[in-house]
């Protein structure tokens, strides 16, 4: 019957060559203990960062043309859910990443700030496209464009392009994952502190 043949211990599975239970990039070691338990040896920082970076859920925030390239990145050919960005959430309170895809205008800036404040920490920001980095093609002669989204909220990763290719956006997301790996819980610095006063 099934009950007796069930494999409970990692050591049993490893002996048969099935290593799929534990992913390759899991930071830490698993030591099989006796009586059905396994002991995981790792540091708290690395395992929490590993969990966070592999499941960042982004917020639907596309204002203009870069939104189409972001949608294309989520579609079938280049798929960002391979890297863990599984679902795009509609509400800011359930998201941990904003991808600012598109131009930020004077009228939209308070809305963006309010959305960022509604997100729960830890929260990350990717600025996608030339308009979000520095105003883009609308830098000169325009009275209503904010020259860069980092005048409004602190940004972690900049992805240049007009619009950037889906591969470029994927590289930006992976760069953000590498940045999260190196975070330290005891010396955590909140990027929004001191932002308004001009850090």
């Amino acid at each position: 019957m099934g009950v007796d043949n069930k494999k409970r211990y990692v050591s049993q599975l490893e002996a048969e060559g099935l290593n799929e239970v534990v992913p390759d990039d899991f930071p830490g070691k698993i030591i099989p203990g006796g009586n059905g338990g396994n002991i995981v040896v790792t540091t708290l920082d690395s395992v929490i960062n590993w969990g966070r970076k592999n499941s960042l859920w982004s917020l639907y925030f596309g204002t203009s043309c870069c939104a189409i390239e972001m949608m294309q990145t989520g579609a079938a050919r280049n798929d960002y859910s391979r890297f863990g960005f599984e679902v795009a959430r509609a509400s800011a309170r359930q998201a941990d990443l904003i991808i600012i895809a598109g131009t930020i205008v004077n009228k939209m800036a308070p809305v963006l700030r309010r959305l960022y404040d509604q997100m729960a920490e830890p929260r990350y920001v990717i600025a996608m496209g030339a308009c979000a980095i520095s105003g883009g093609p609308f830098y000169y002669n325009s009275y209503s464009v904010v020259k860069g989204a980092d005048h409004v909220i602190p940004v972690d990763v900049y992805v240049p392009g007009c619009p950037p290719r889906p591969e470029a956006l994927l590289e930006g997301m992976i760069m953000l994952q590498k940045k999260i790996e190196t975070e330290n819980m005891s010396k955590k610095v909140n990027p929004i502190d001191g932002f308004d006063e001009g850090k």
């Binding site: 043309c65 390239e69 294309q72 050919r77 009228k107 939209m108 325009s142 209503s144």
Partner: protein, 373 residues
Amino acid sequence: MTDQKVKTKMKTEEYFVNMGPQHPAAHGVLRLLLTIDGEIIKNVEPDLGYIHRSIEKMCERDSYQQIVHLTDRMDYLSSHINNEAVCLTVEKGLEIEVSDRVKVIRTIIGELTRLASHQLWWGVMGMDLGALTTYFYAFRDRELINDIFEETCGARLTMNYFVPGGLMYDIHPNFVKRTKEFIAHFKTKLPEYDRLLTGNVIFEKRTKGVGMLTKEDAIAFGATGPVARGSGFASDIRKKDPYSAYDKVDFKEALFTEGDSYARYKVRIMEMWESMSIIDQLIDNIPEGNIKEPTKAVIKLPKGEFYQRVETARGELGVYINSTGTKNPYRVKFRSPGFSNLSVLNHISKGVKIADLVATMASFDFVIPDIDR
């Protein structure tokens, strides 16, 4: 308690709900202030300007070749057709006649753009009504058109391929072959789209009889594009004032008279079939000729006013250039199709439920940077 007693004892109030700028079904950053009573809508007031990038003011300090790259970003789903509008206006002012090769290539690329835009509309319309599969199907096929454009024009979304006087460079040698392969492939896919959505019971119940627009209202409100053609108003600029190579091809204008969201849906599906037929007629005989007529490096239009209309995937785009003879235009105005279509929304949404408003907006196919410019 009988029903009547319950109704008279219950007091309901109207209140405001904000369908805010960041919303999954808003197609961009459109803010709608709804006055609702329960679930029935009493008034819809749109609040625009969340992506107003002052393109018209910027054009007053740019040269004529530089205006073209700003129009790419207005209605980014039919970017080639926007570029064509400005190029045709400038060529009208300079009184240049482009060669037949340029006209045919502009028409073919315009129709491919229209196909790509309608594919995205179809995917997003299904998504708005809850069917997520359509999103993946549409984007899978749209990638093939993006590949064709990337080989010839260099970019996938905001291409700047048309210049006043002709094209920037010649088409890639693979263009004809890849386009023919794509058309053959897509002709087998469009019936698949029909099987998914068109005959679906839920889809029909949500779109038939929803968002009725009569023909007189469509003319009075200035509606254009598939919105007007779904109500019986024959407004296709490709038939009324033909430009480029549209007077040489034979195609039917998609016209339905019911005026509801299902009619607008059928108009766009029929337009996709007609686009493929136009490309079929032109792709095999692209004539030889000049790629670009010679113009001066600094273009100066003579003093006067020039107006040109084209048919984008959303309707009539008009470009009005007023020039005083200098190297920058004095005033540029873009008559955008979405702006007039948006003014219809309040009129047809009185007394419907919020879910019907979402279905109506999906069938209107707004692109908000086109409205806000």
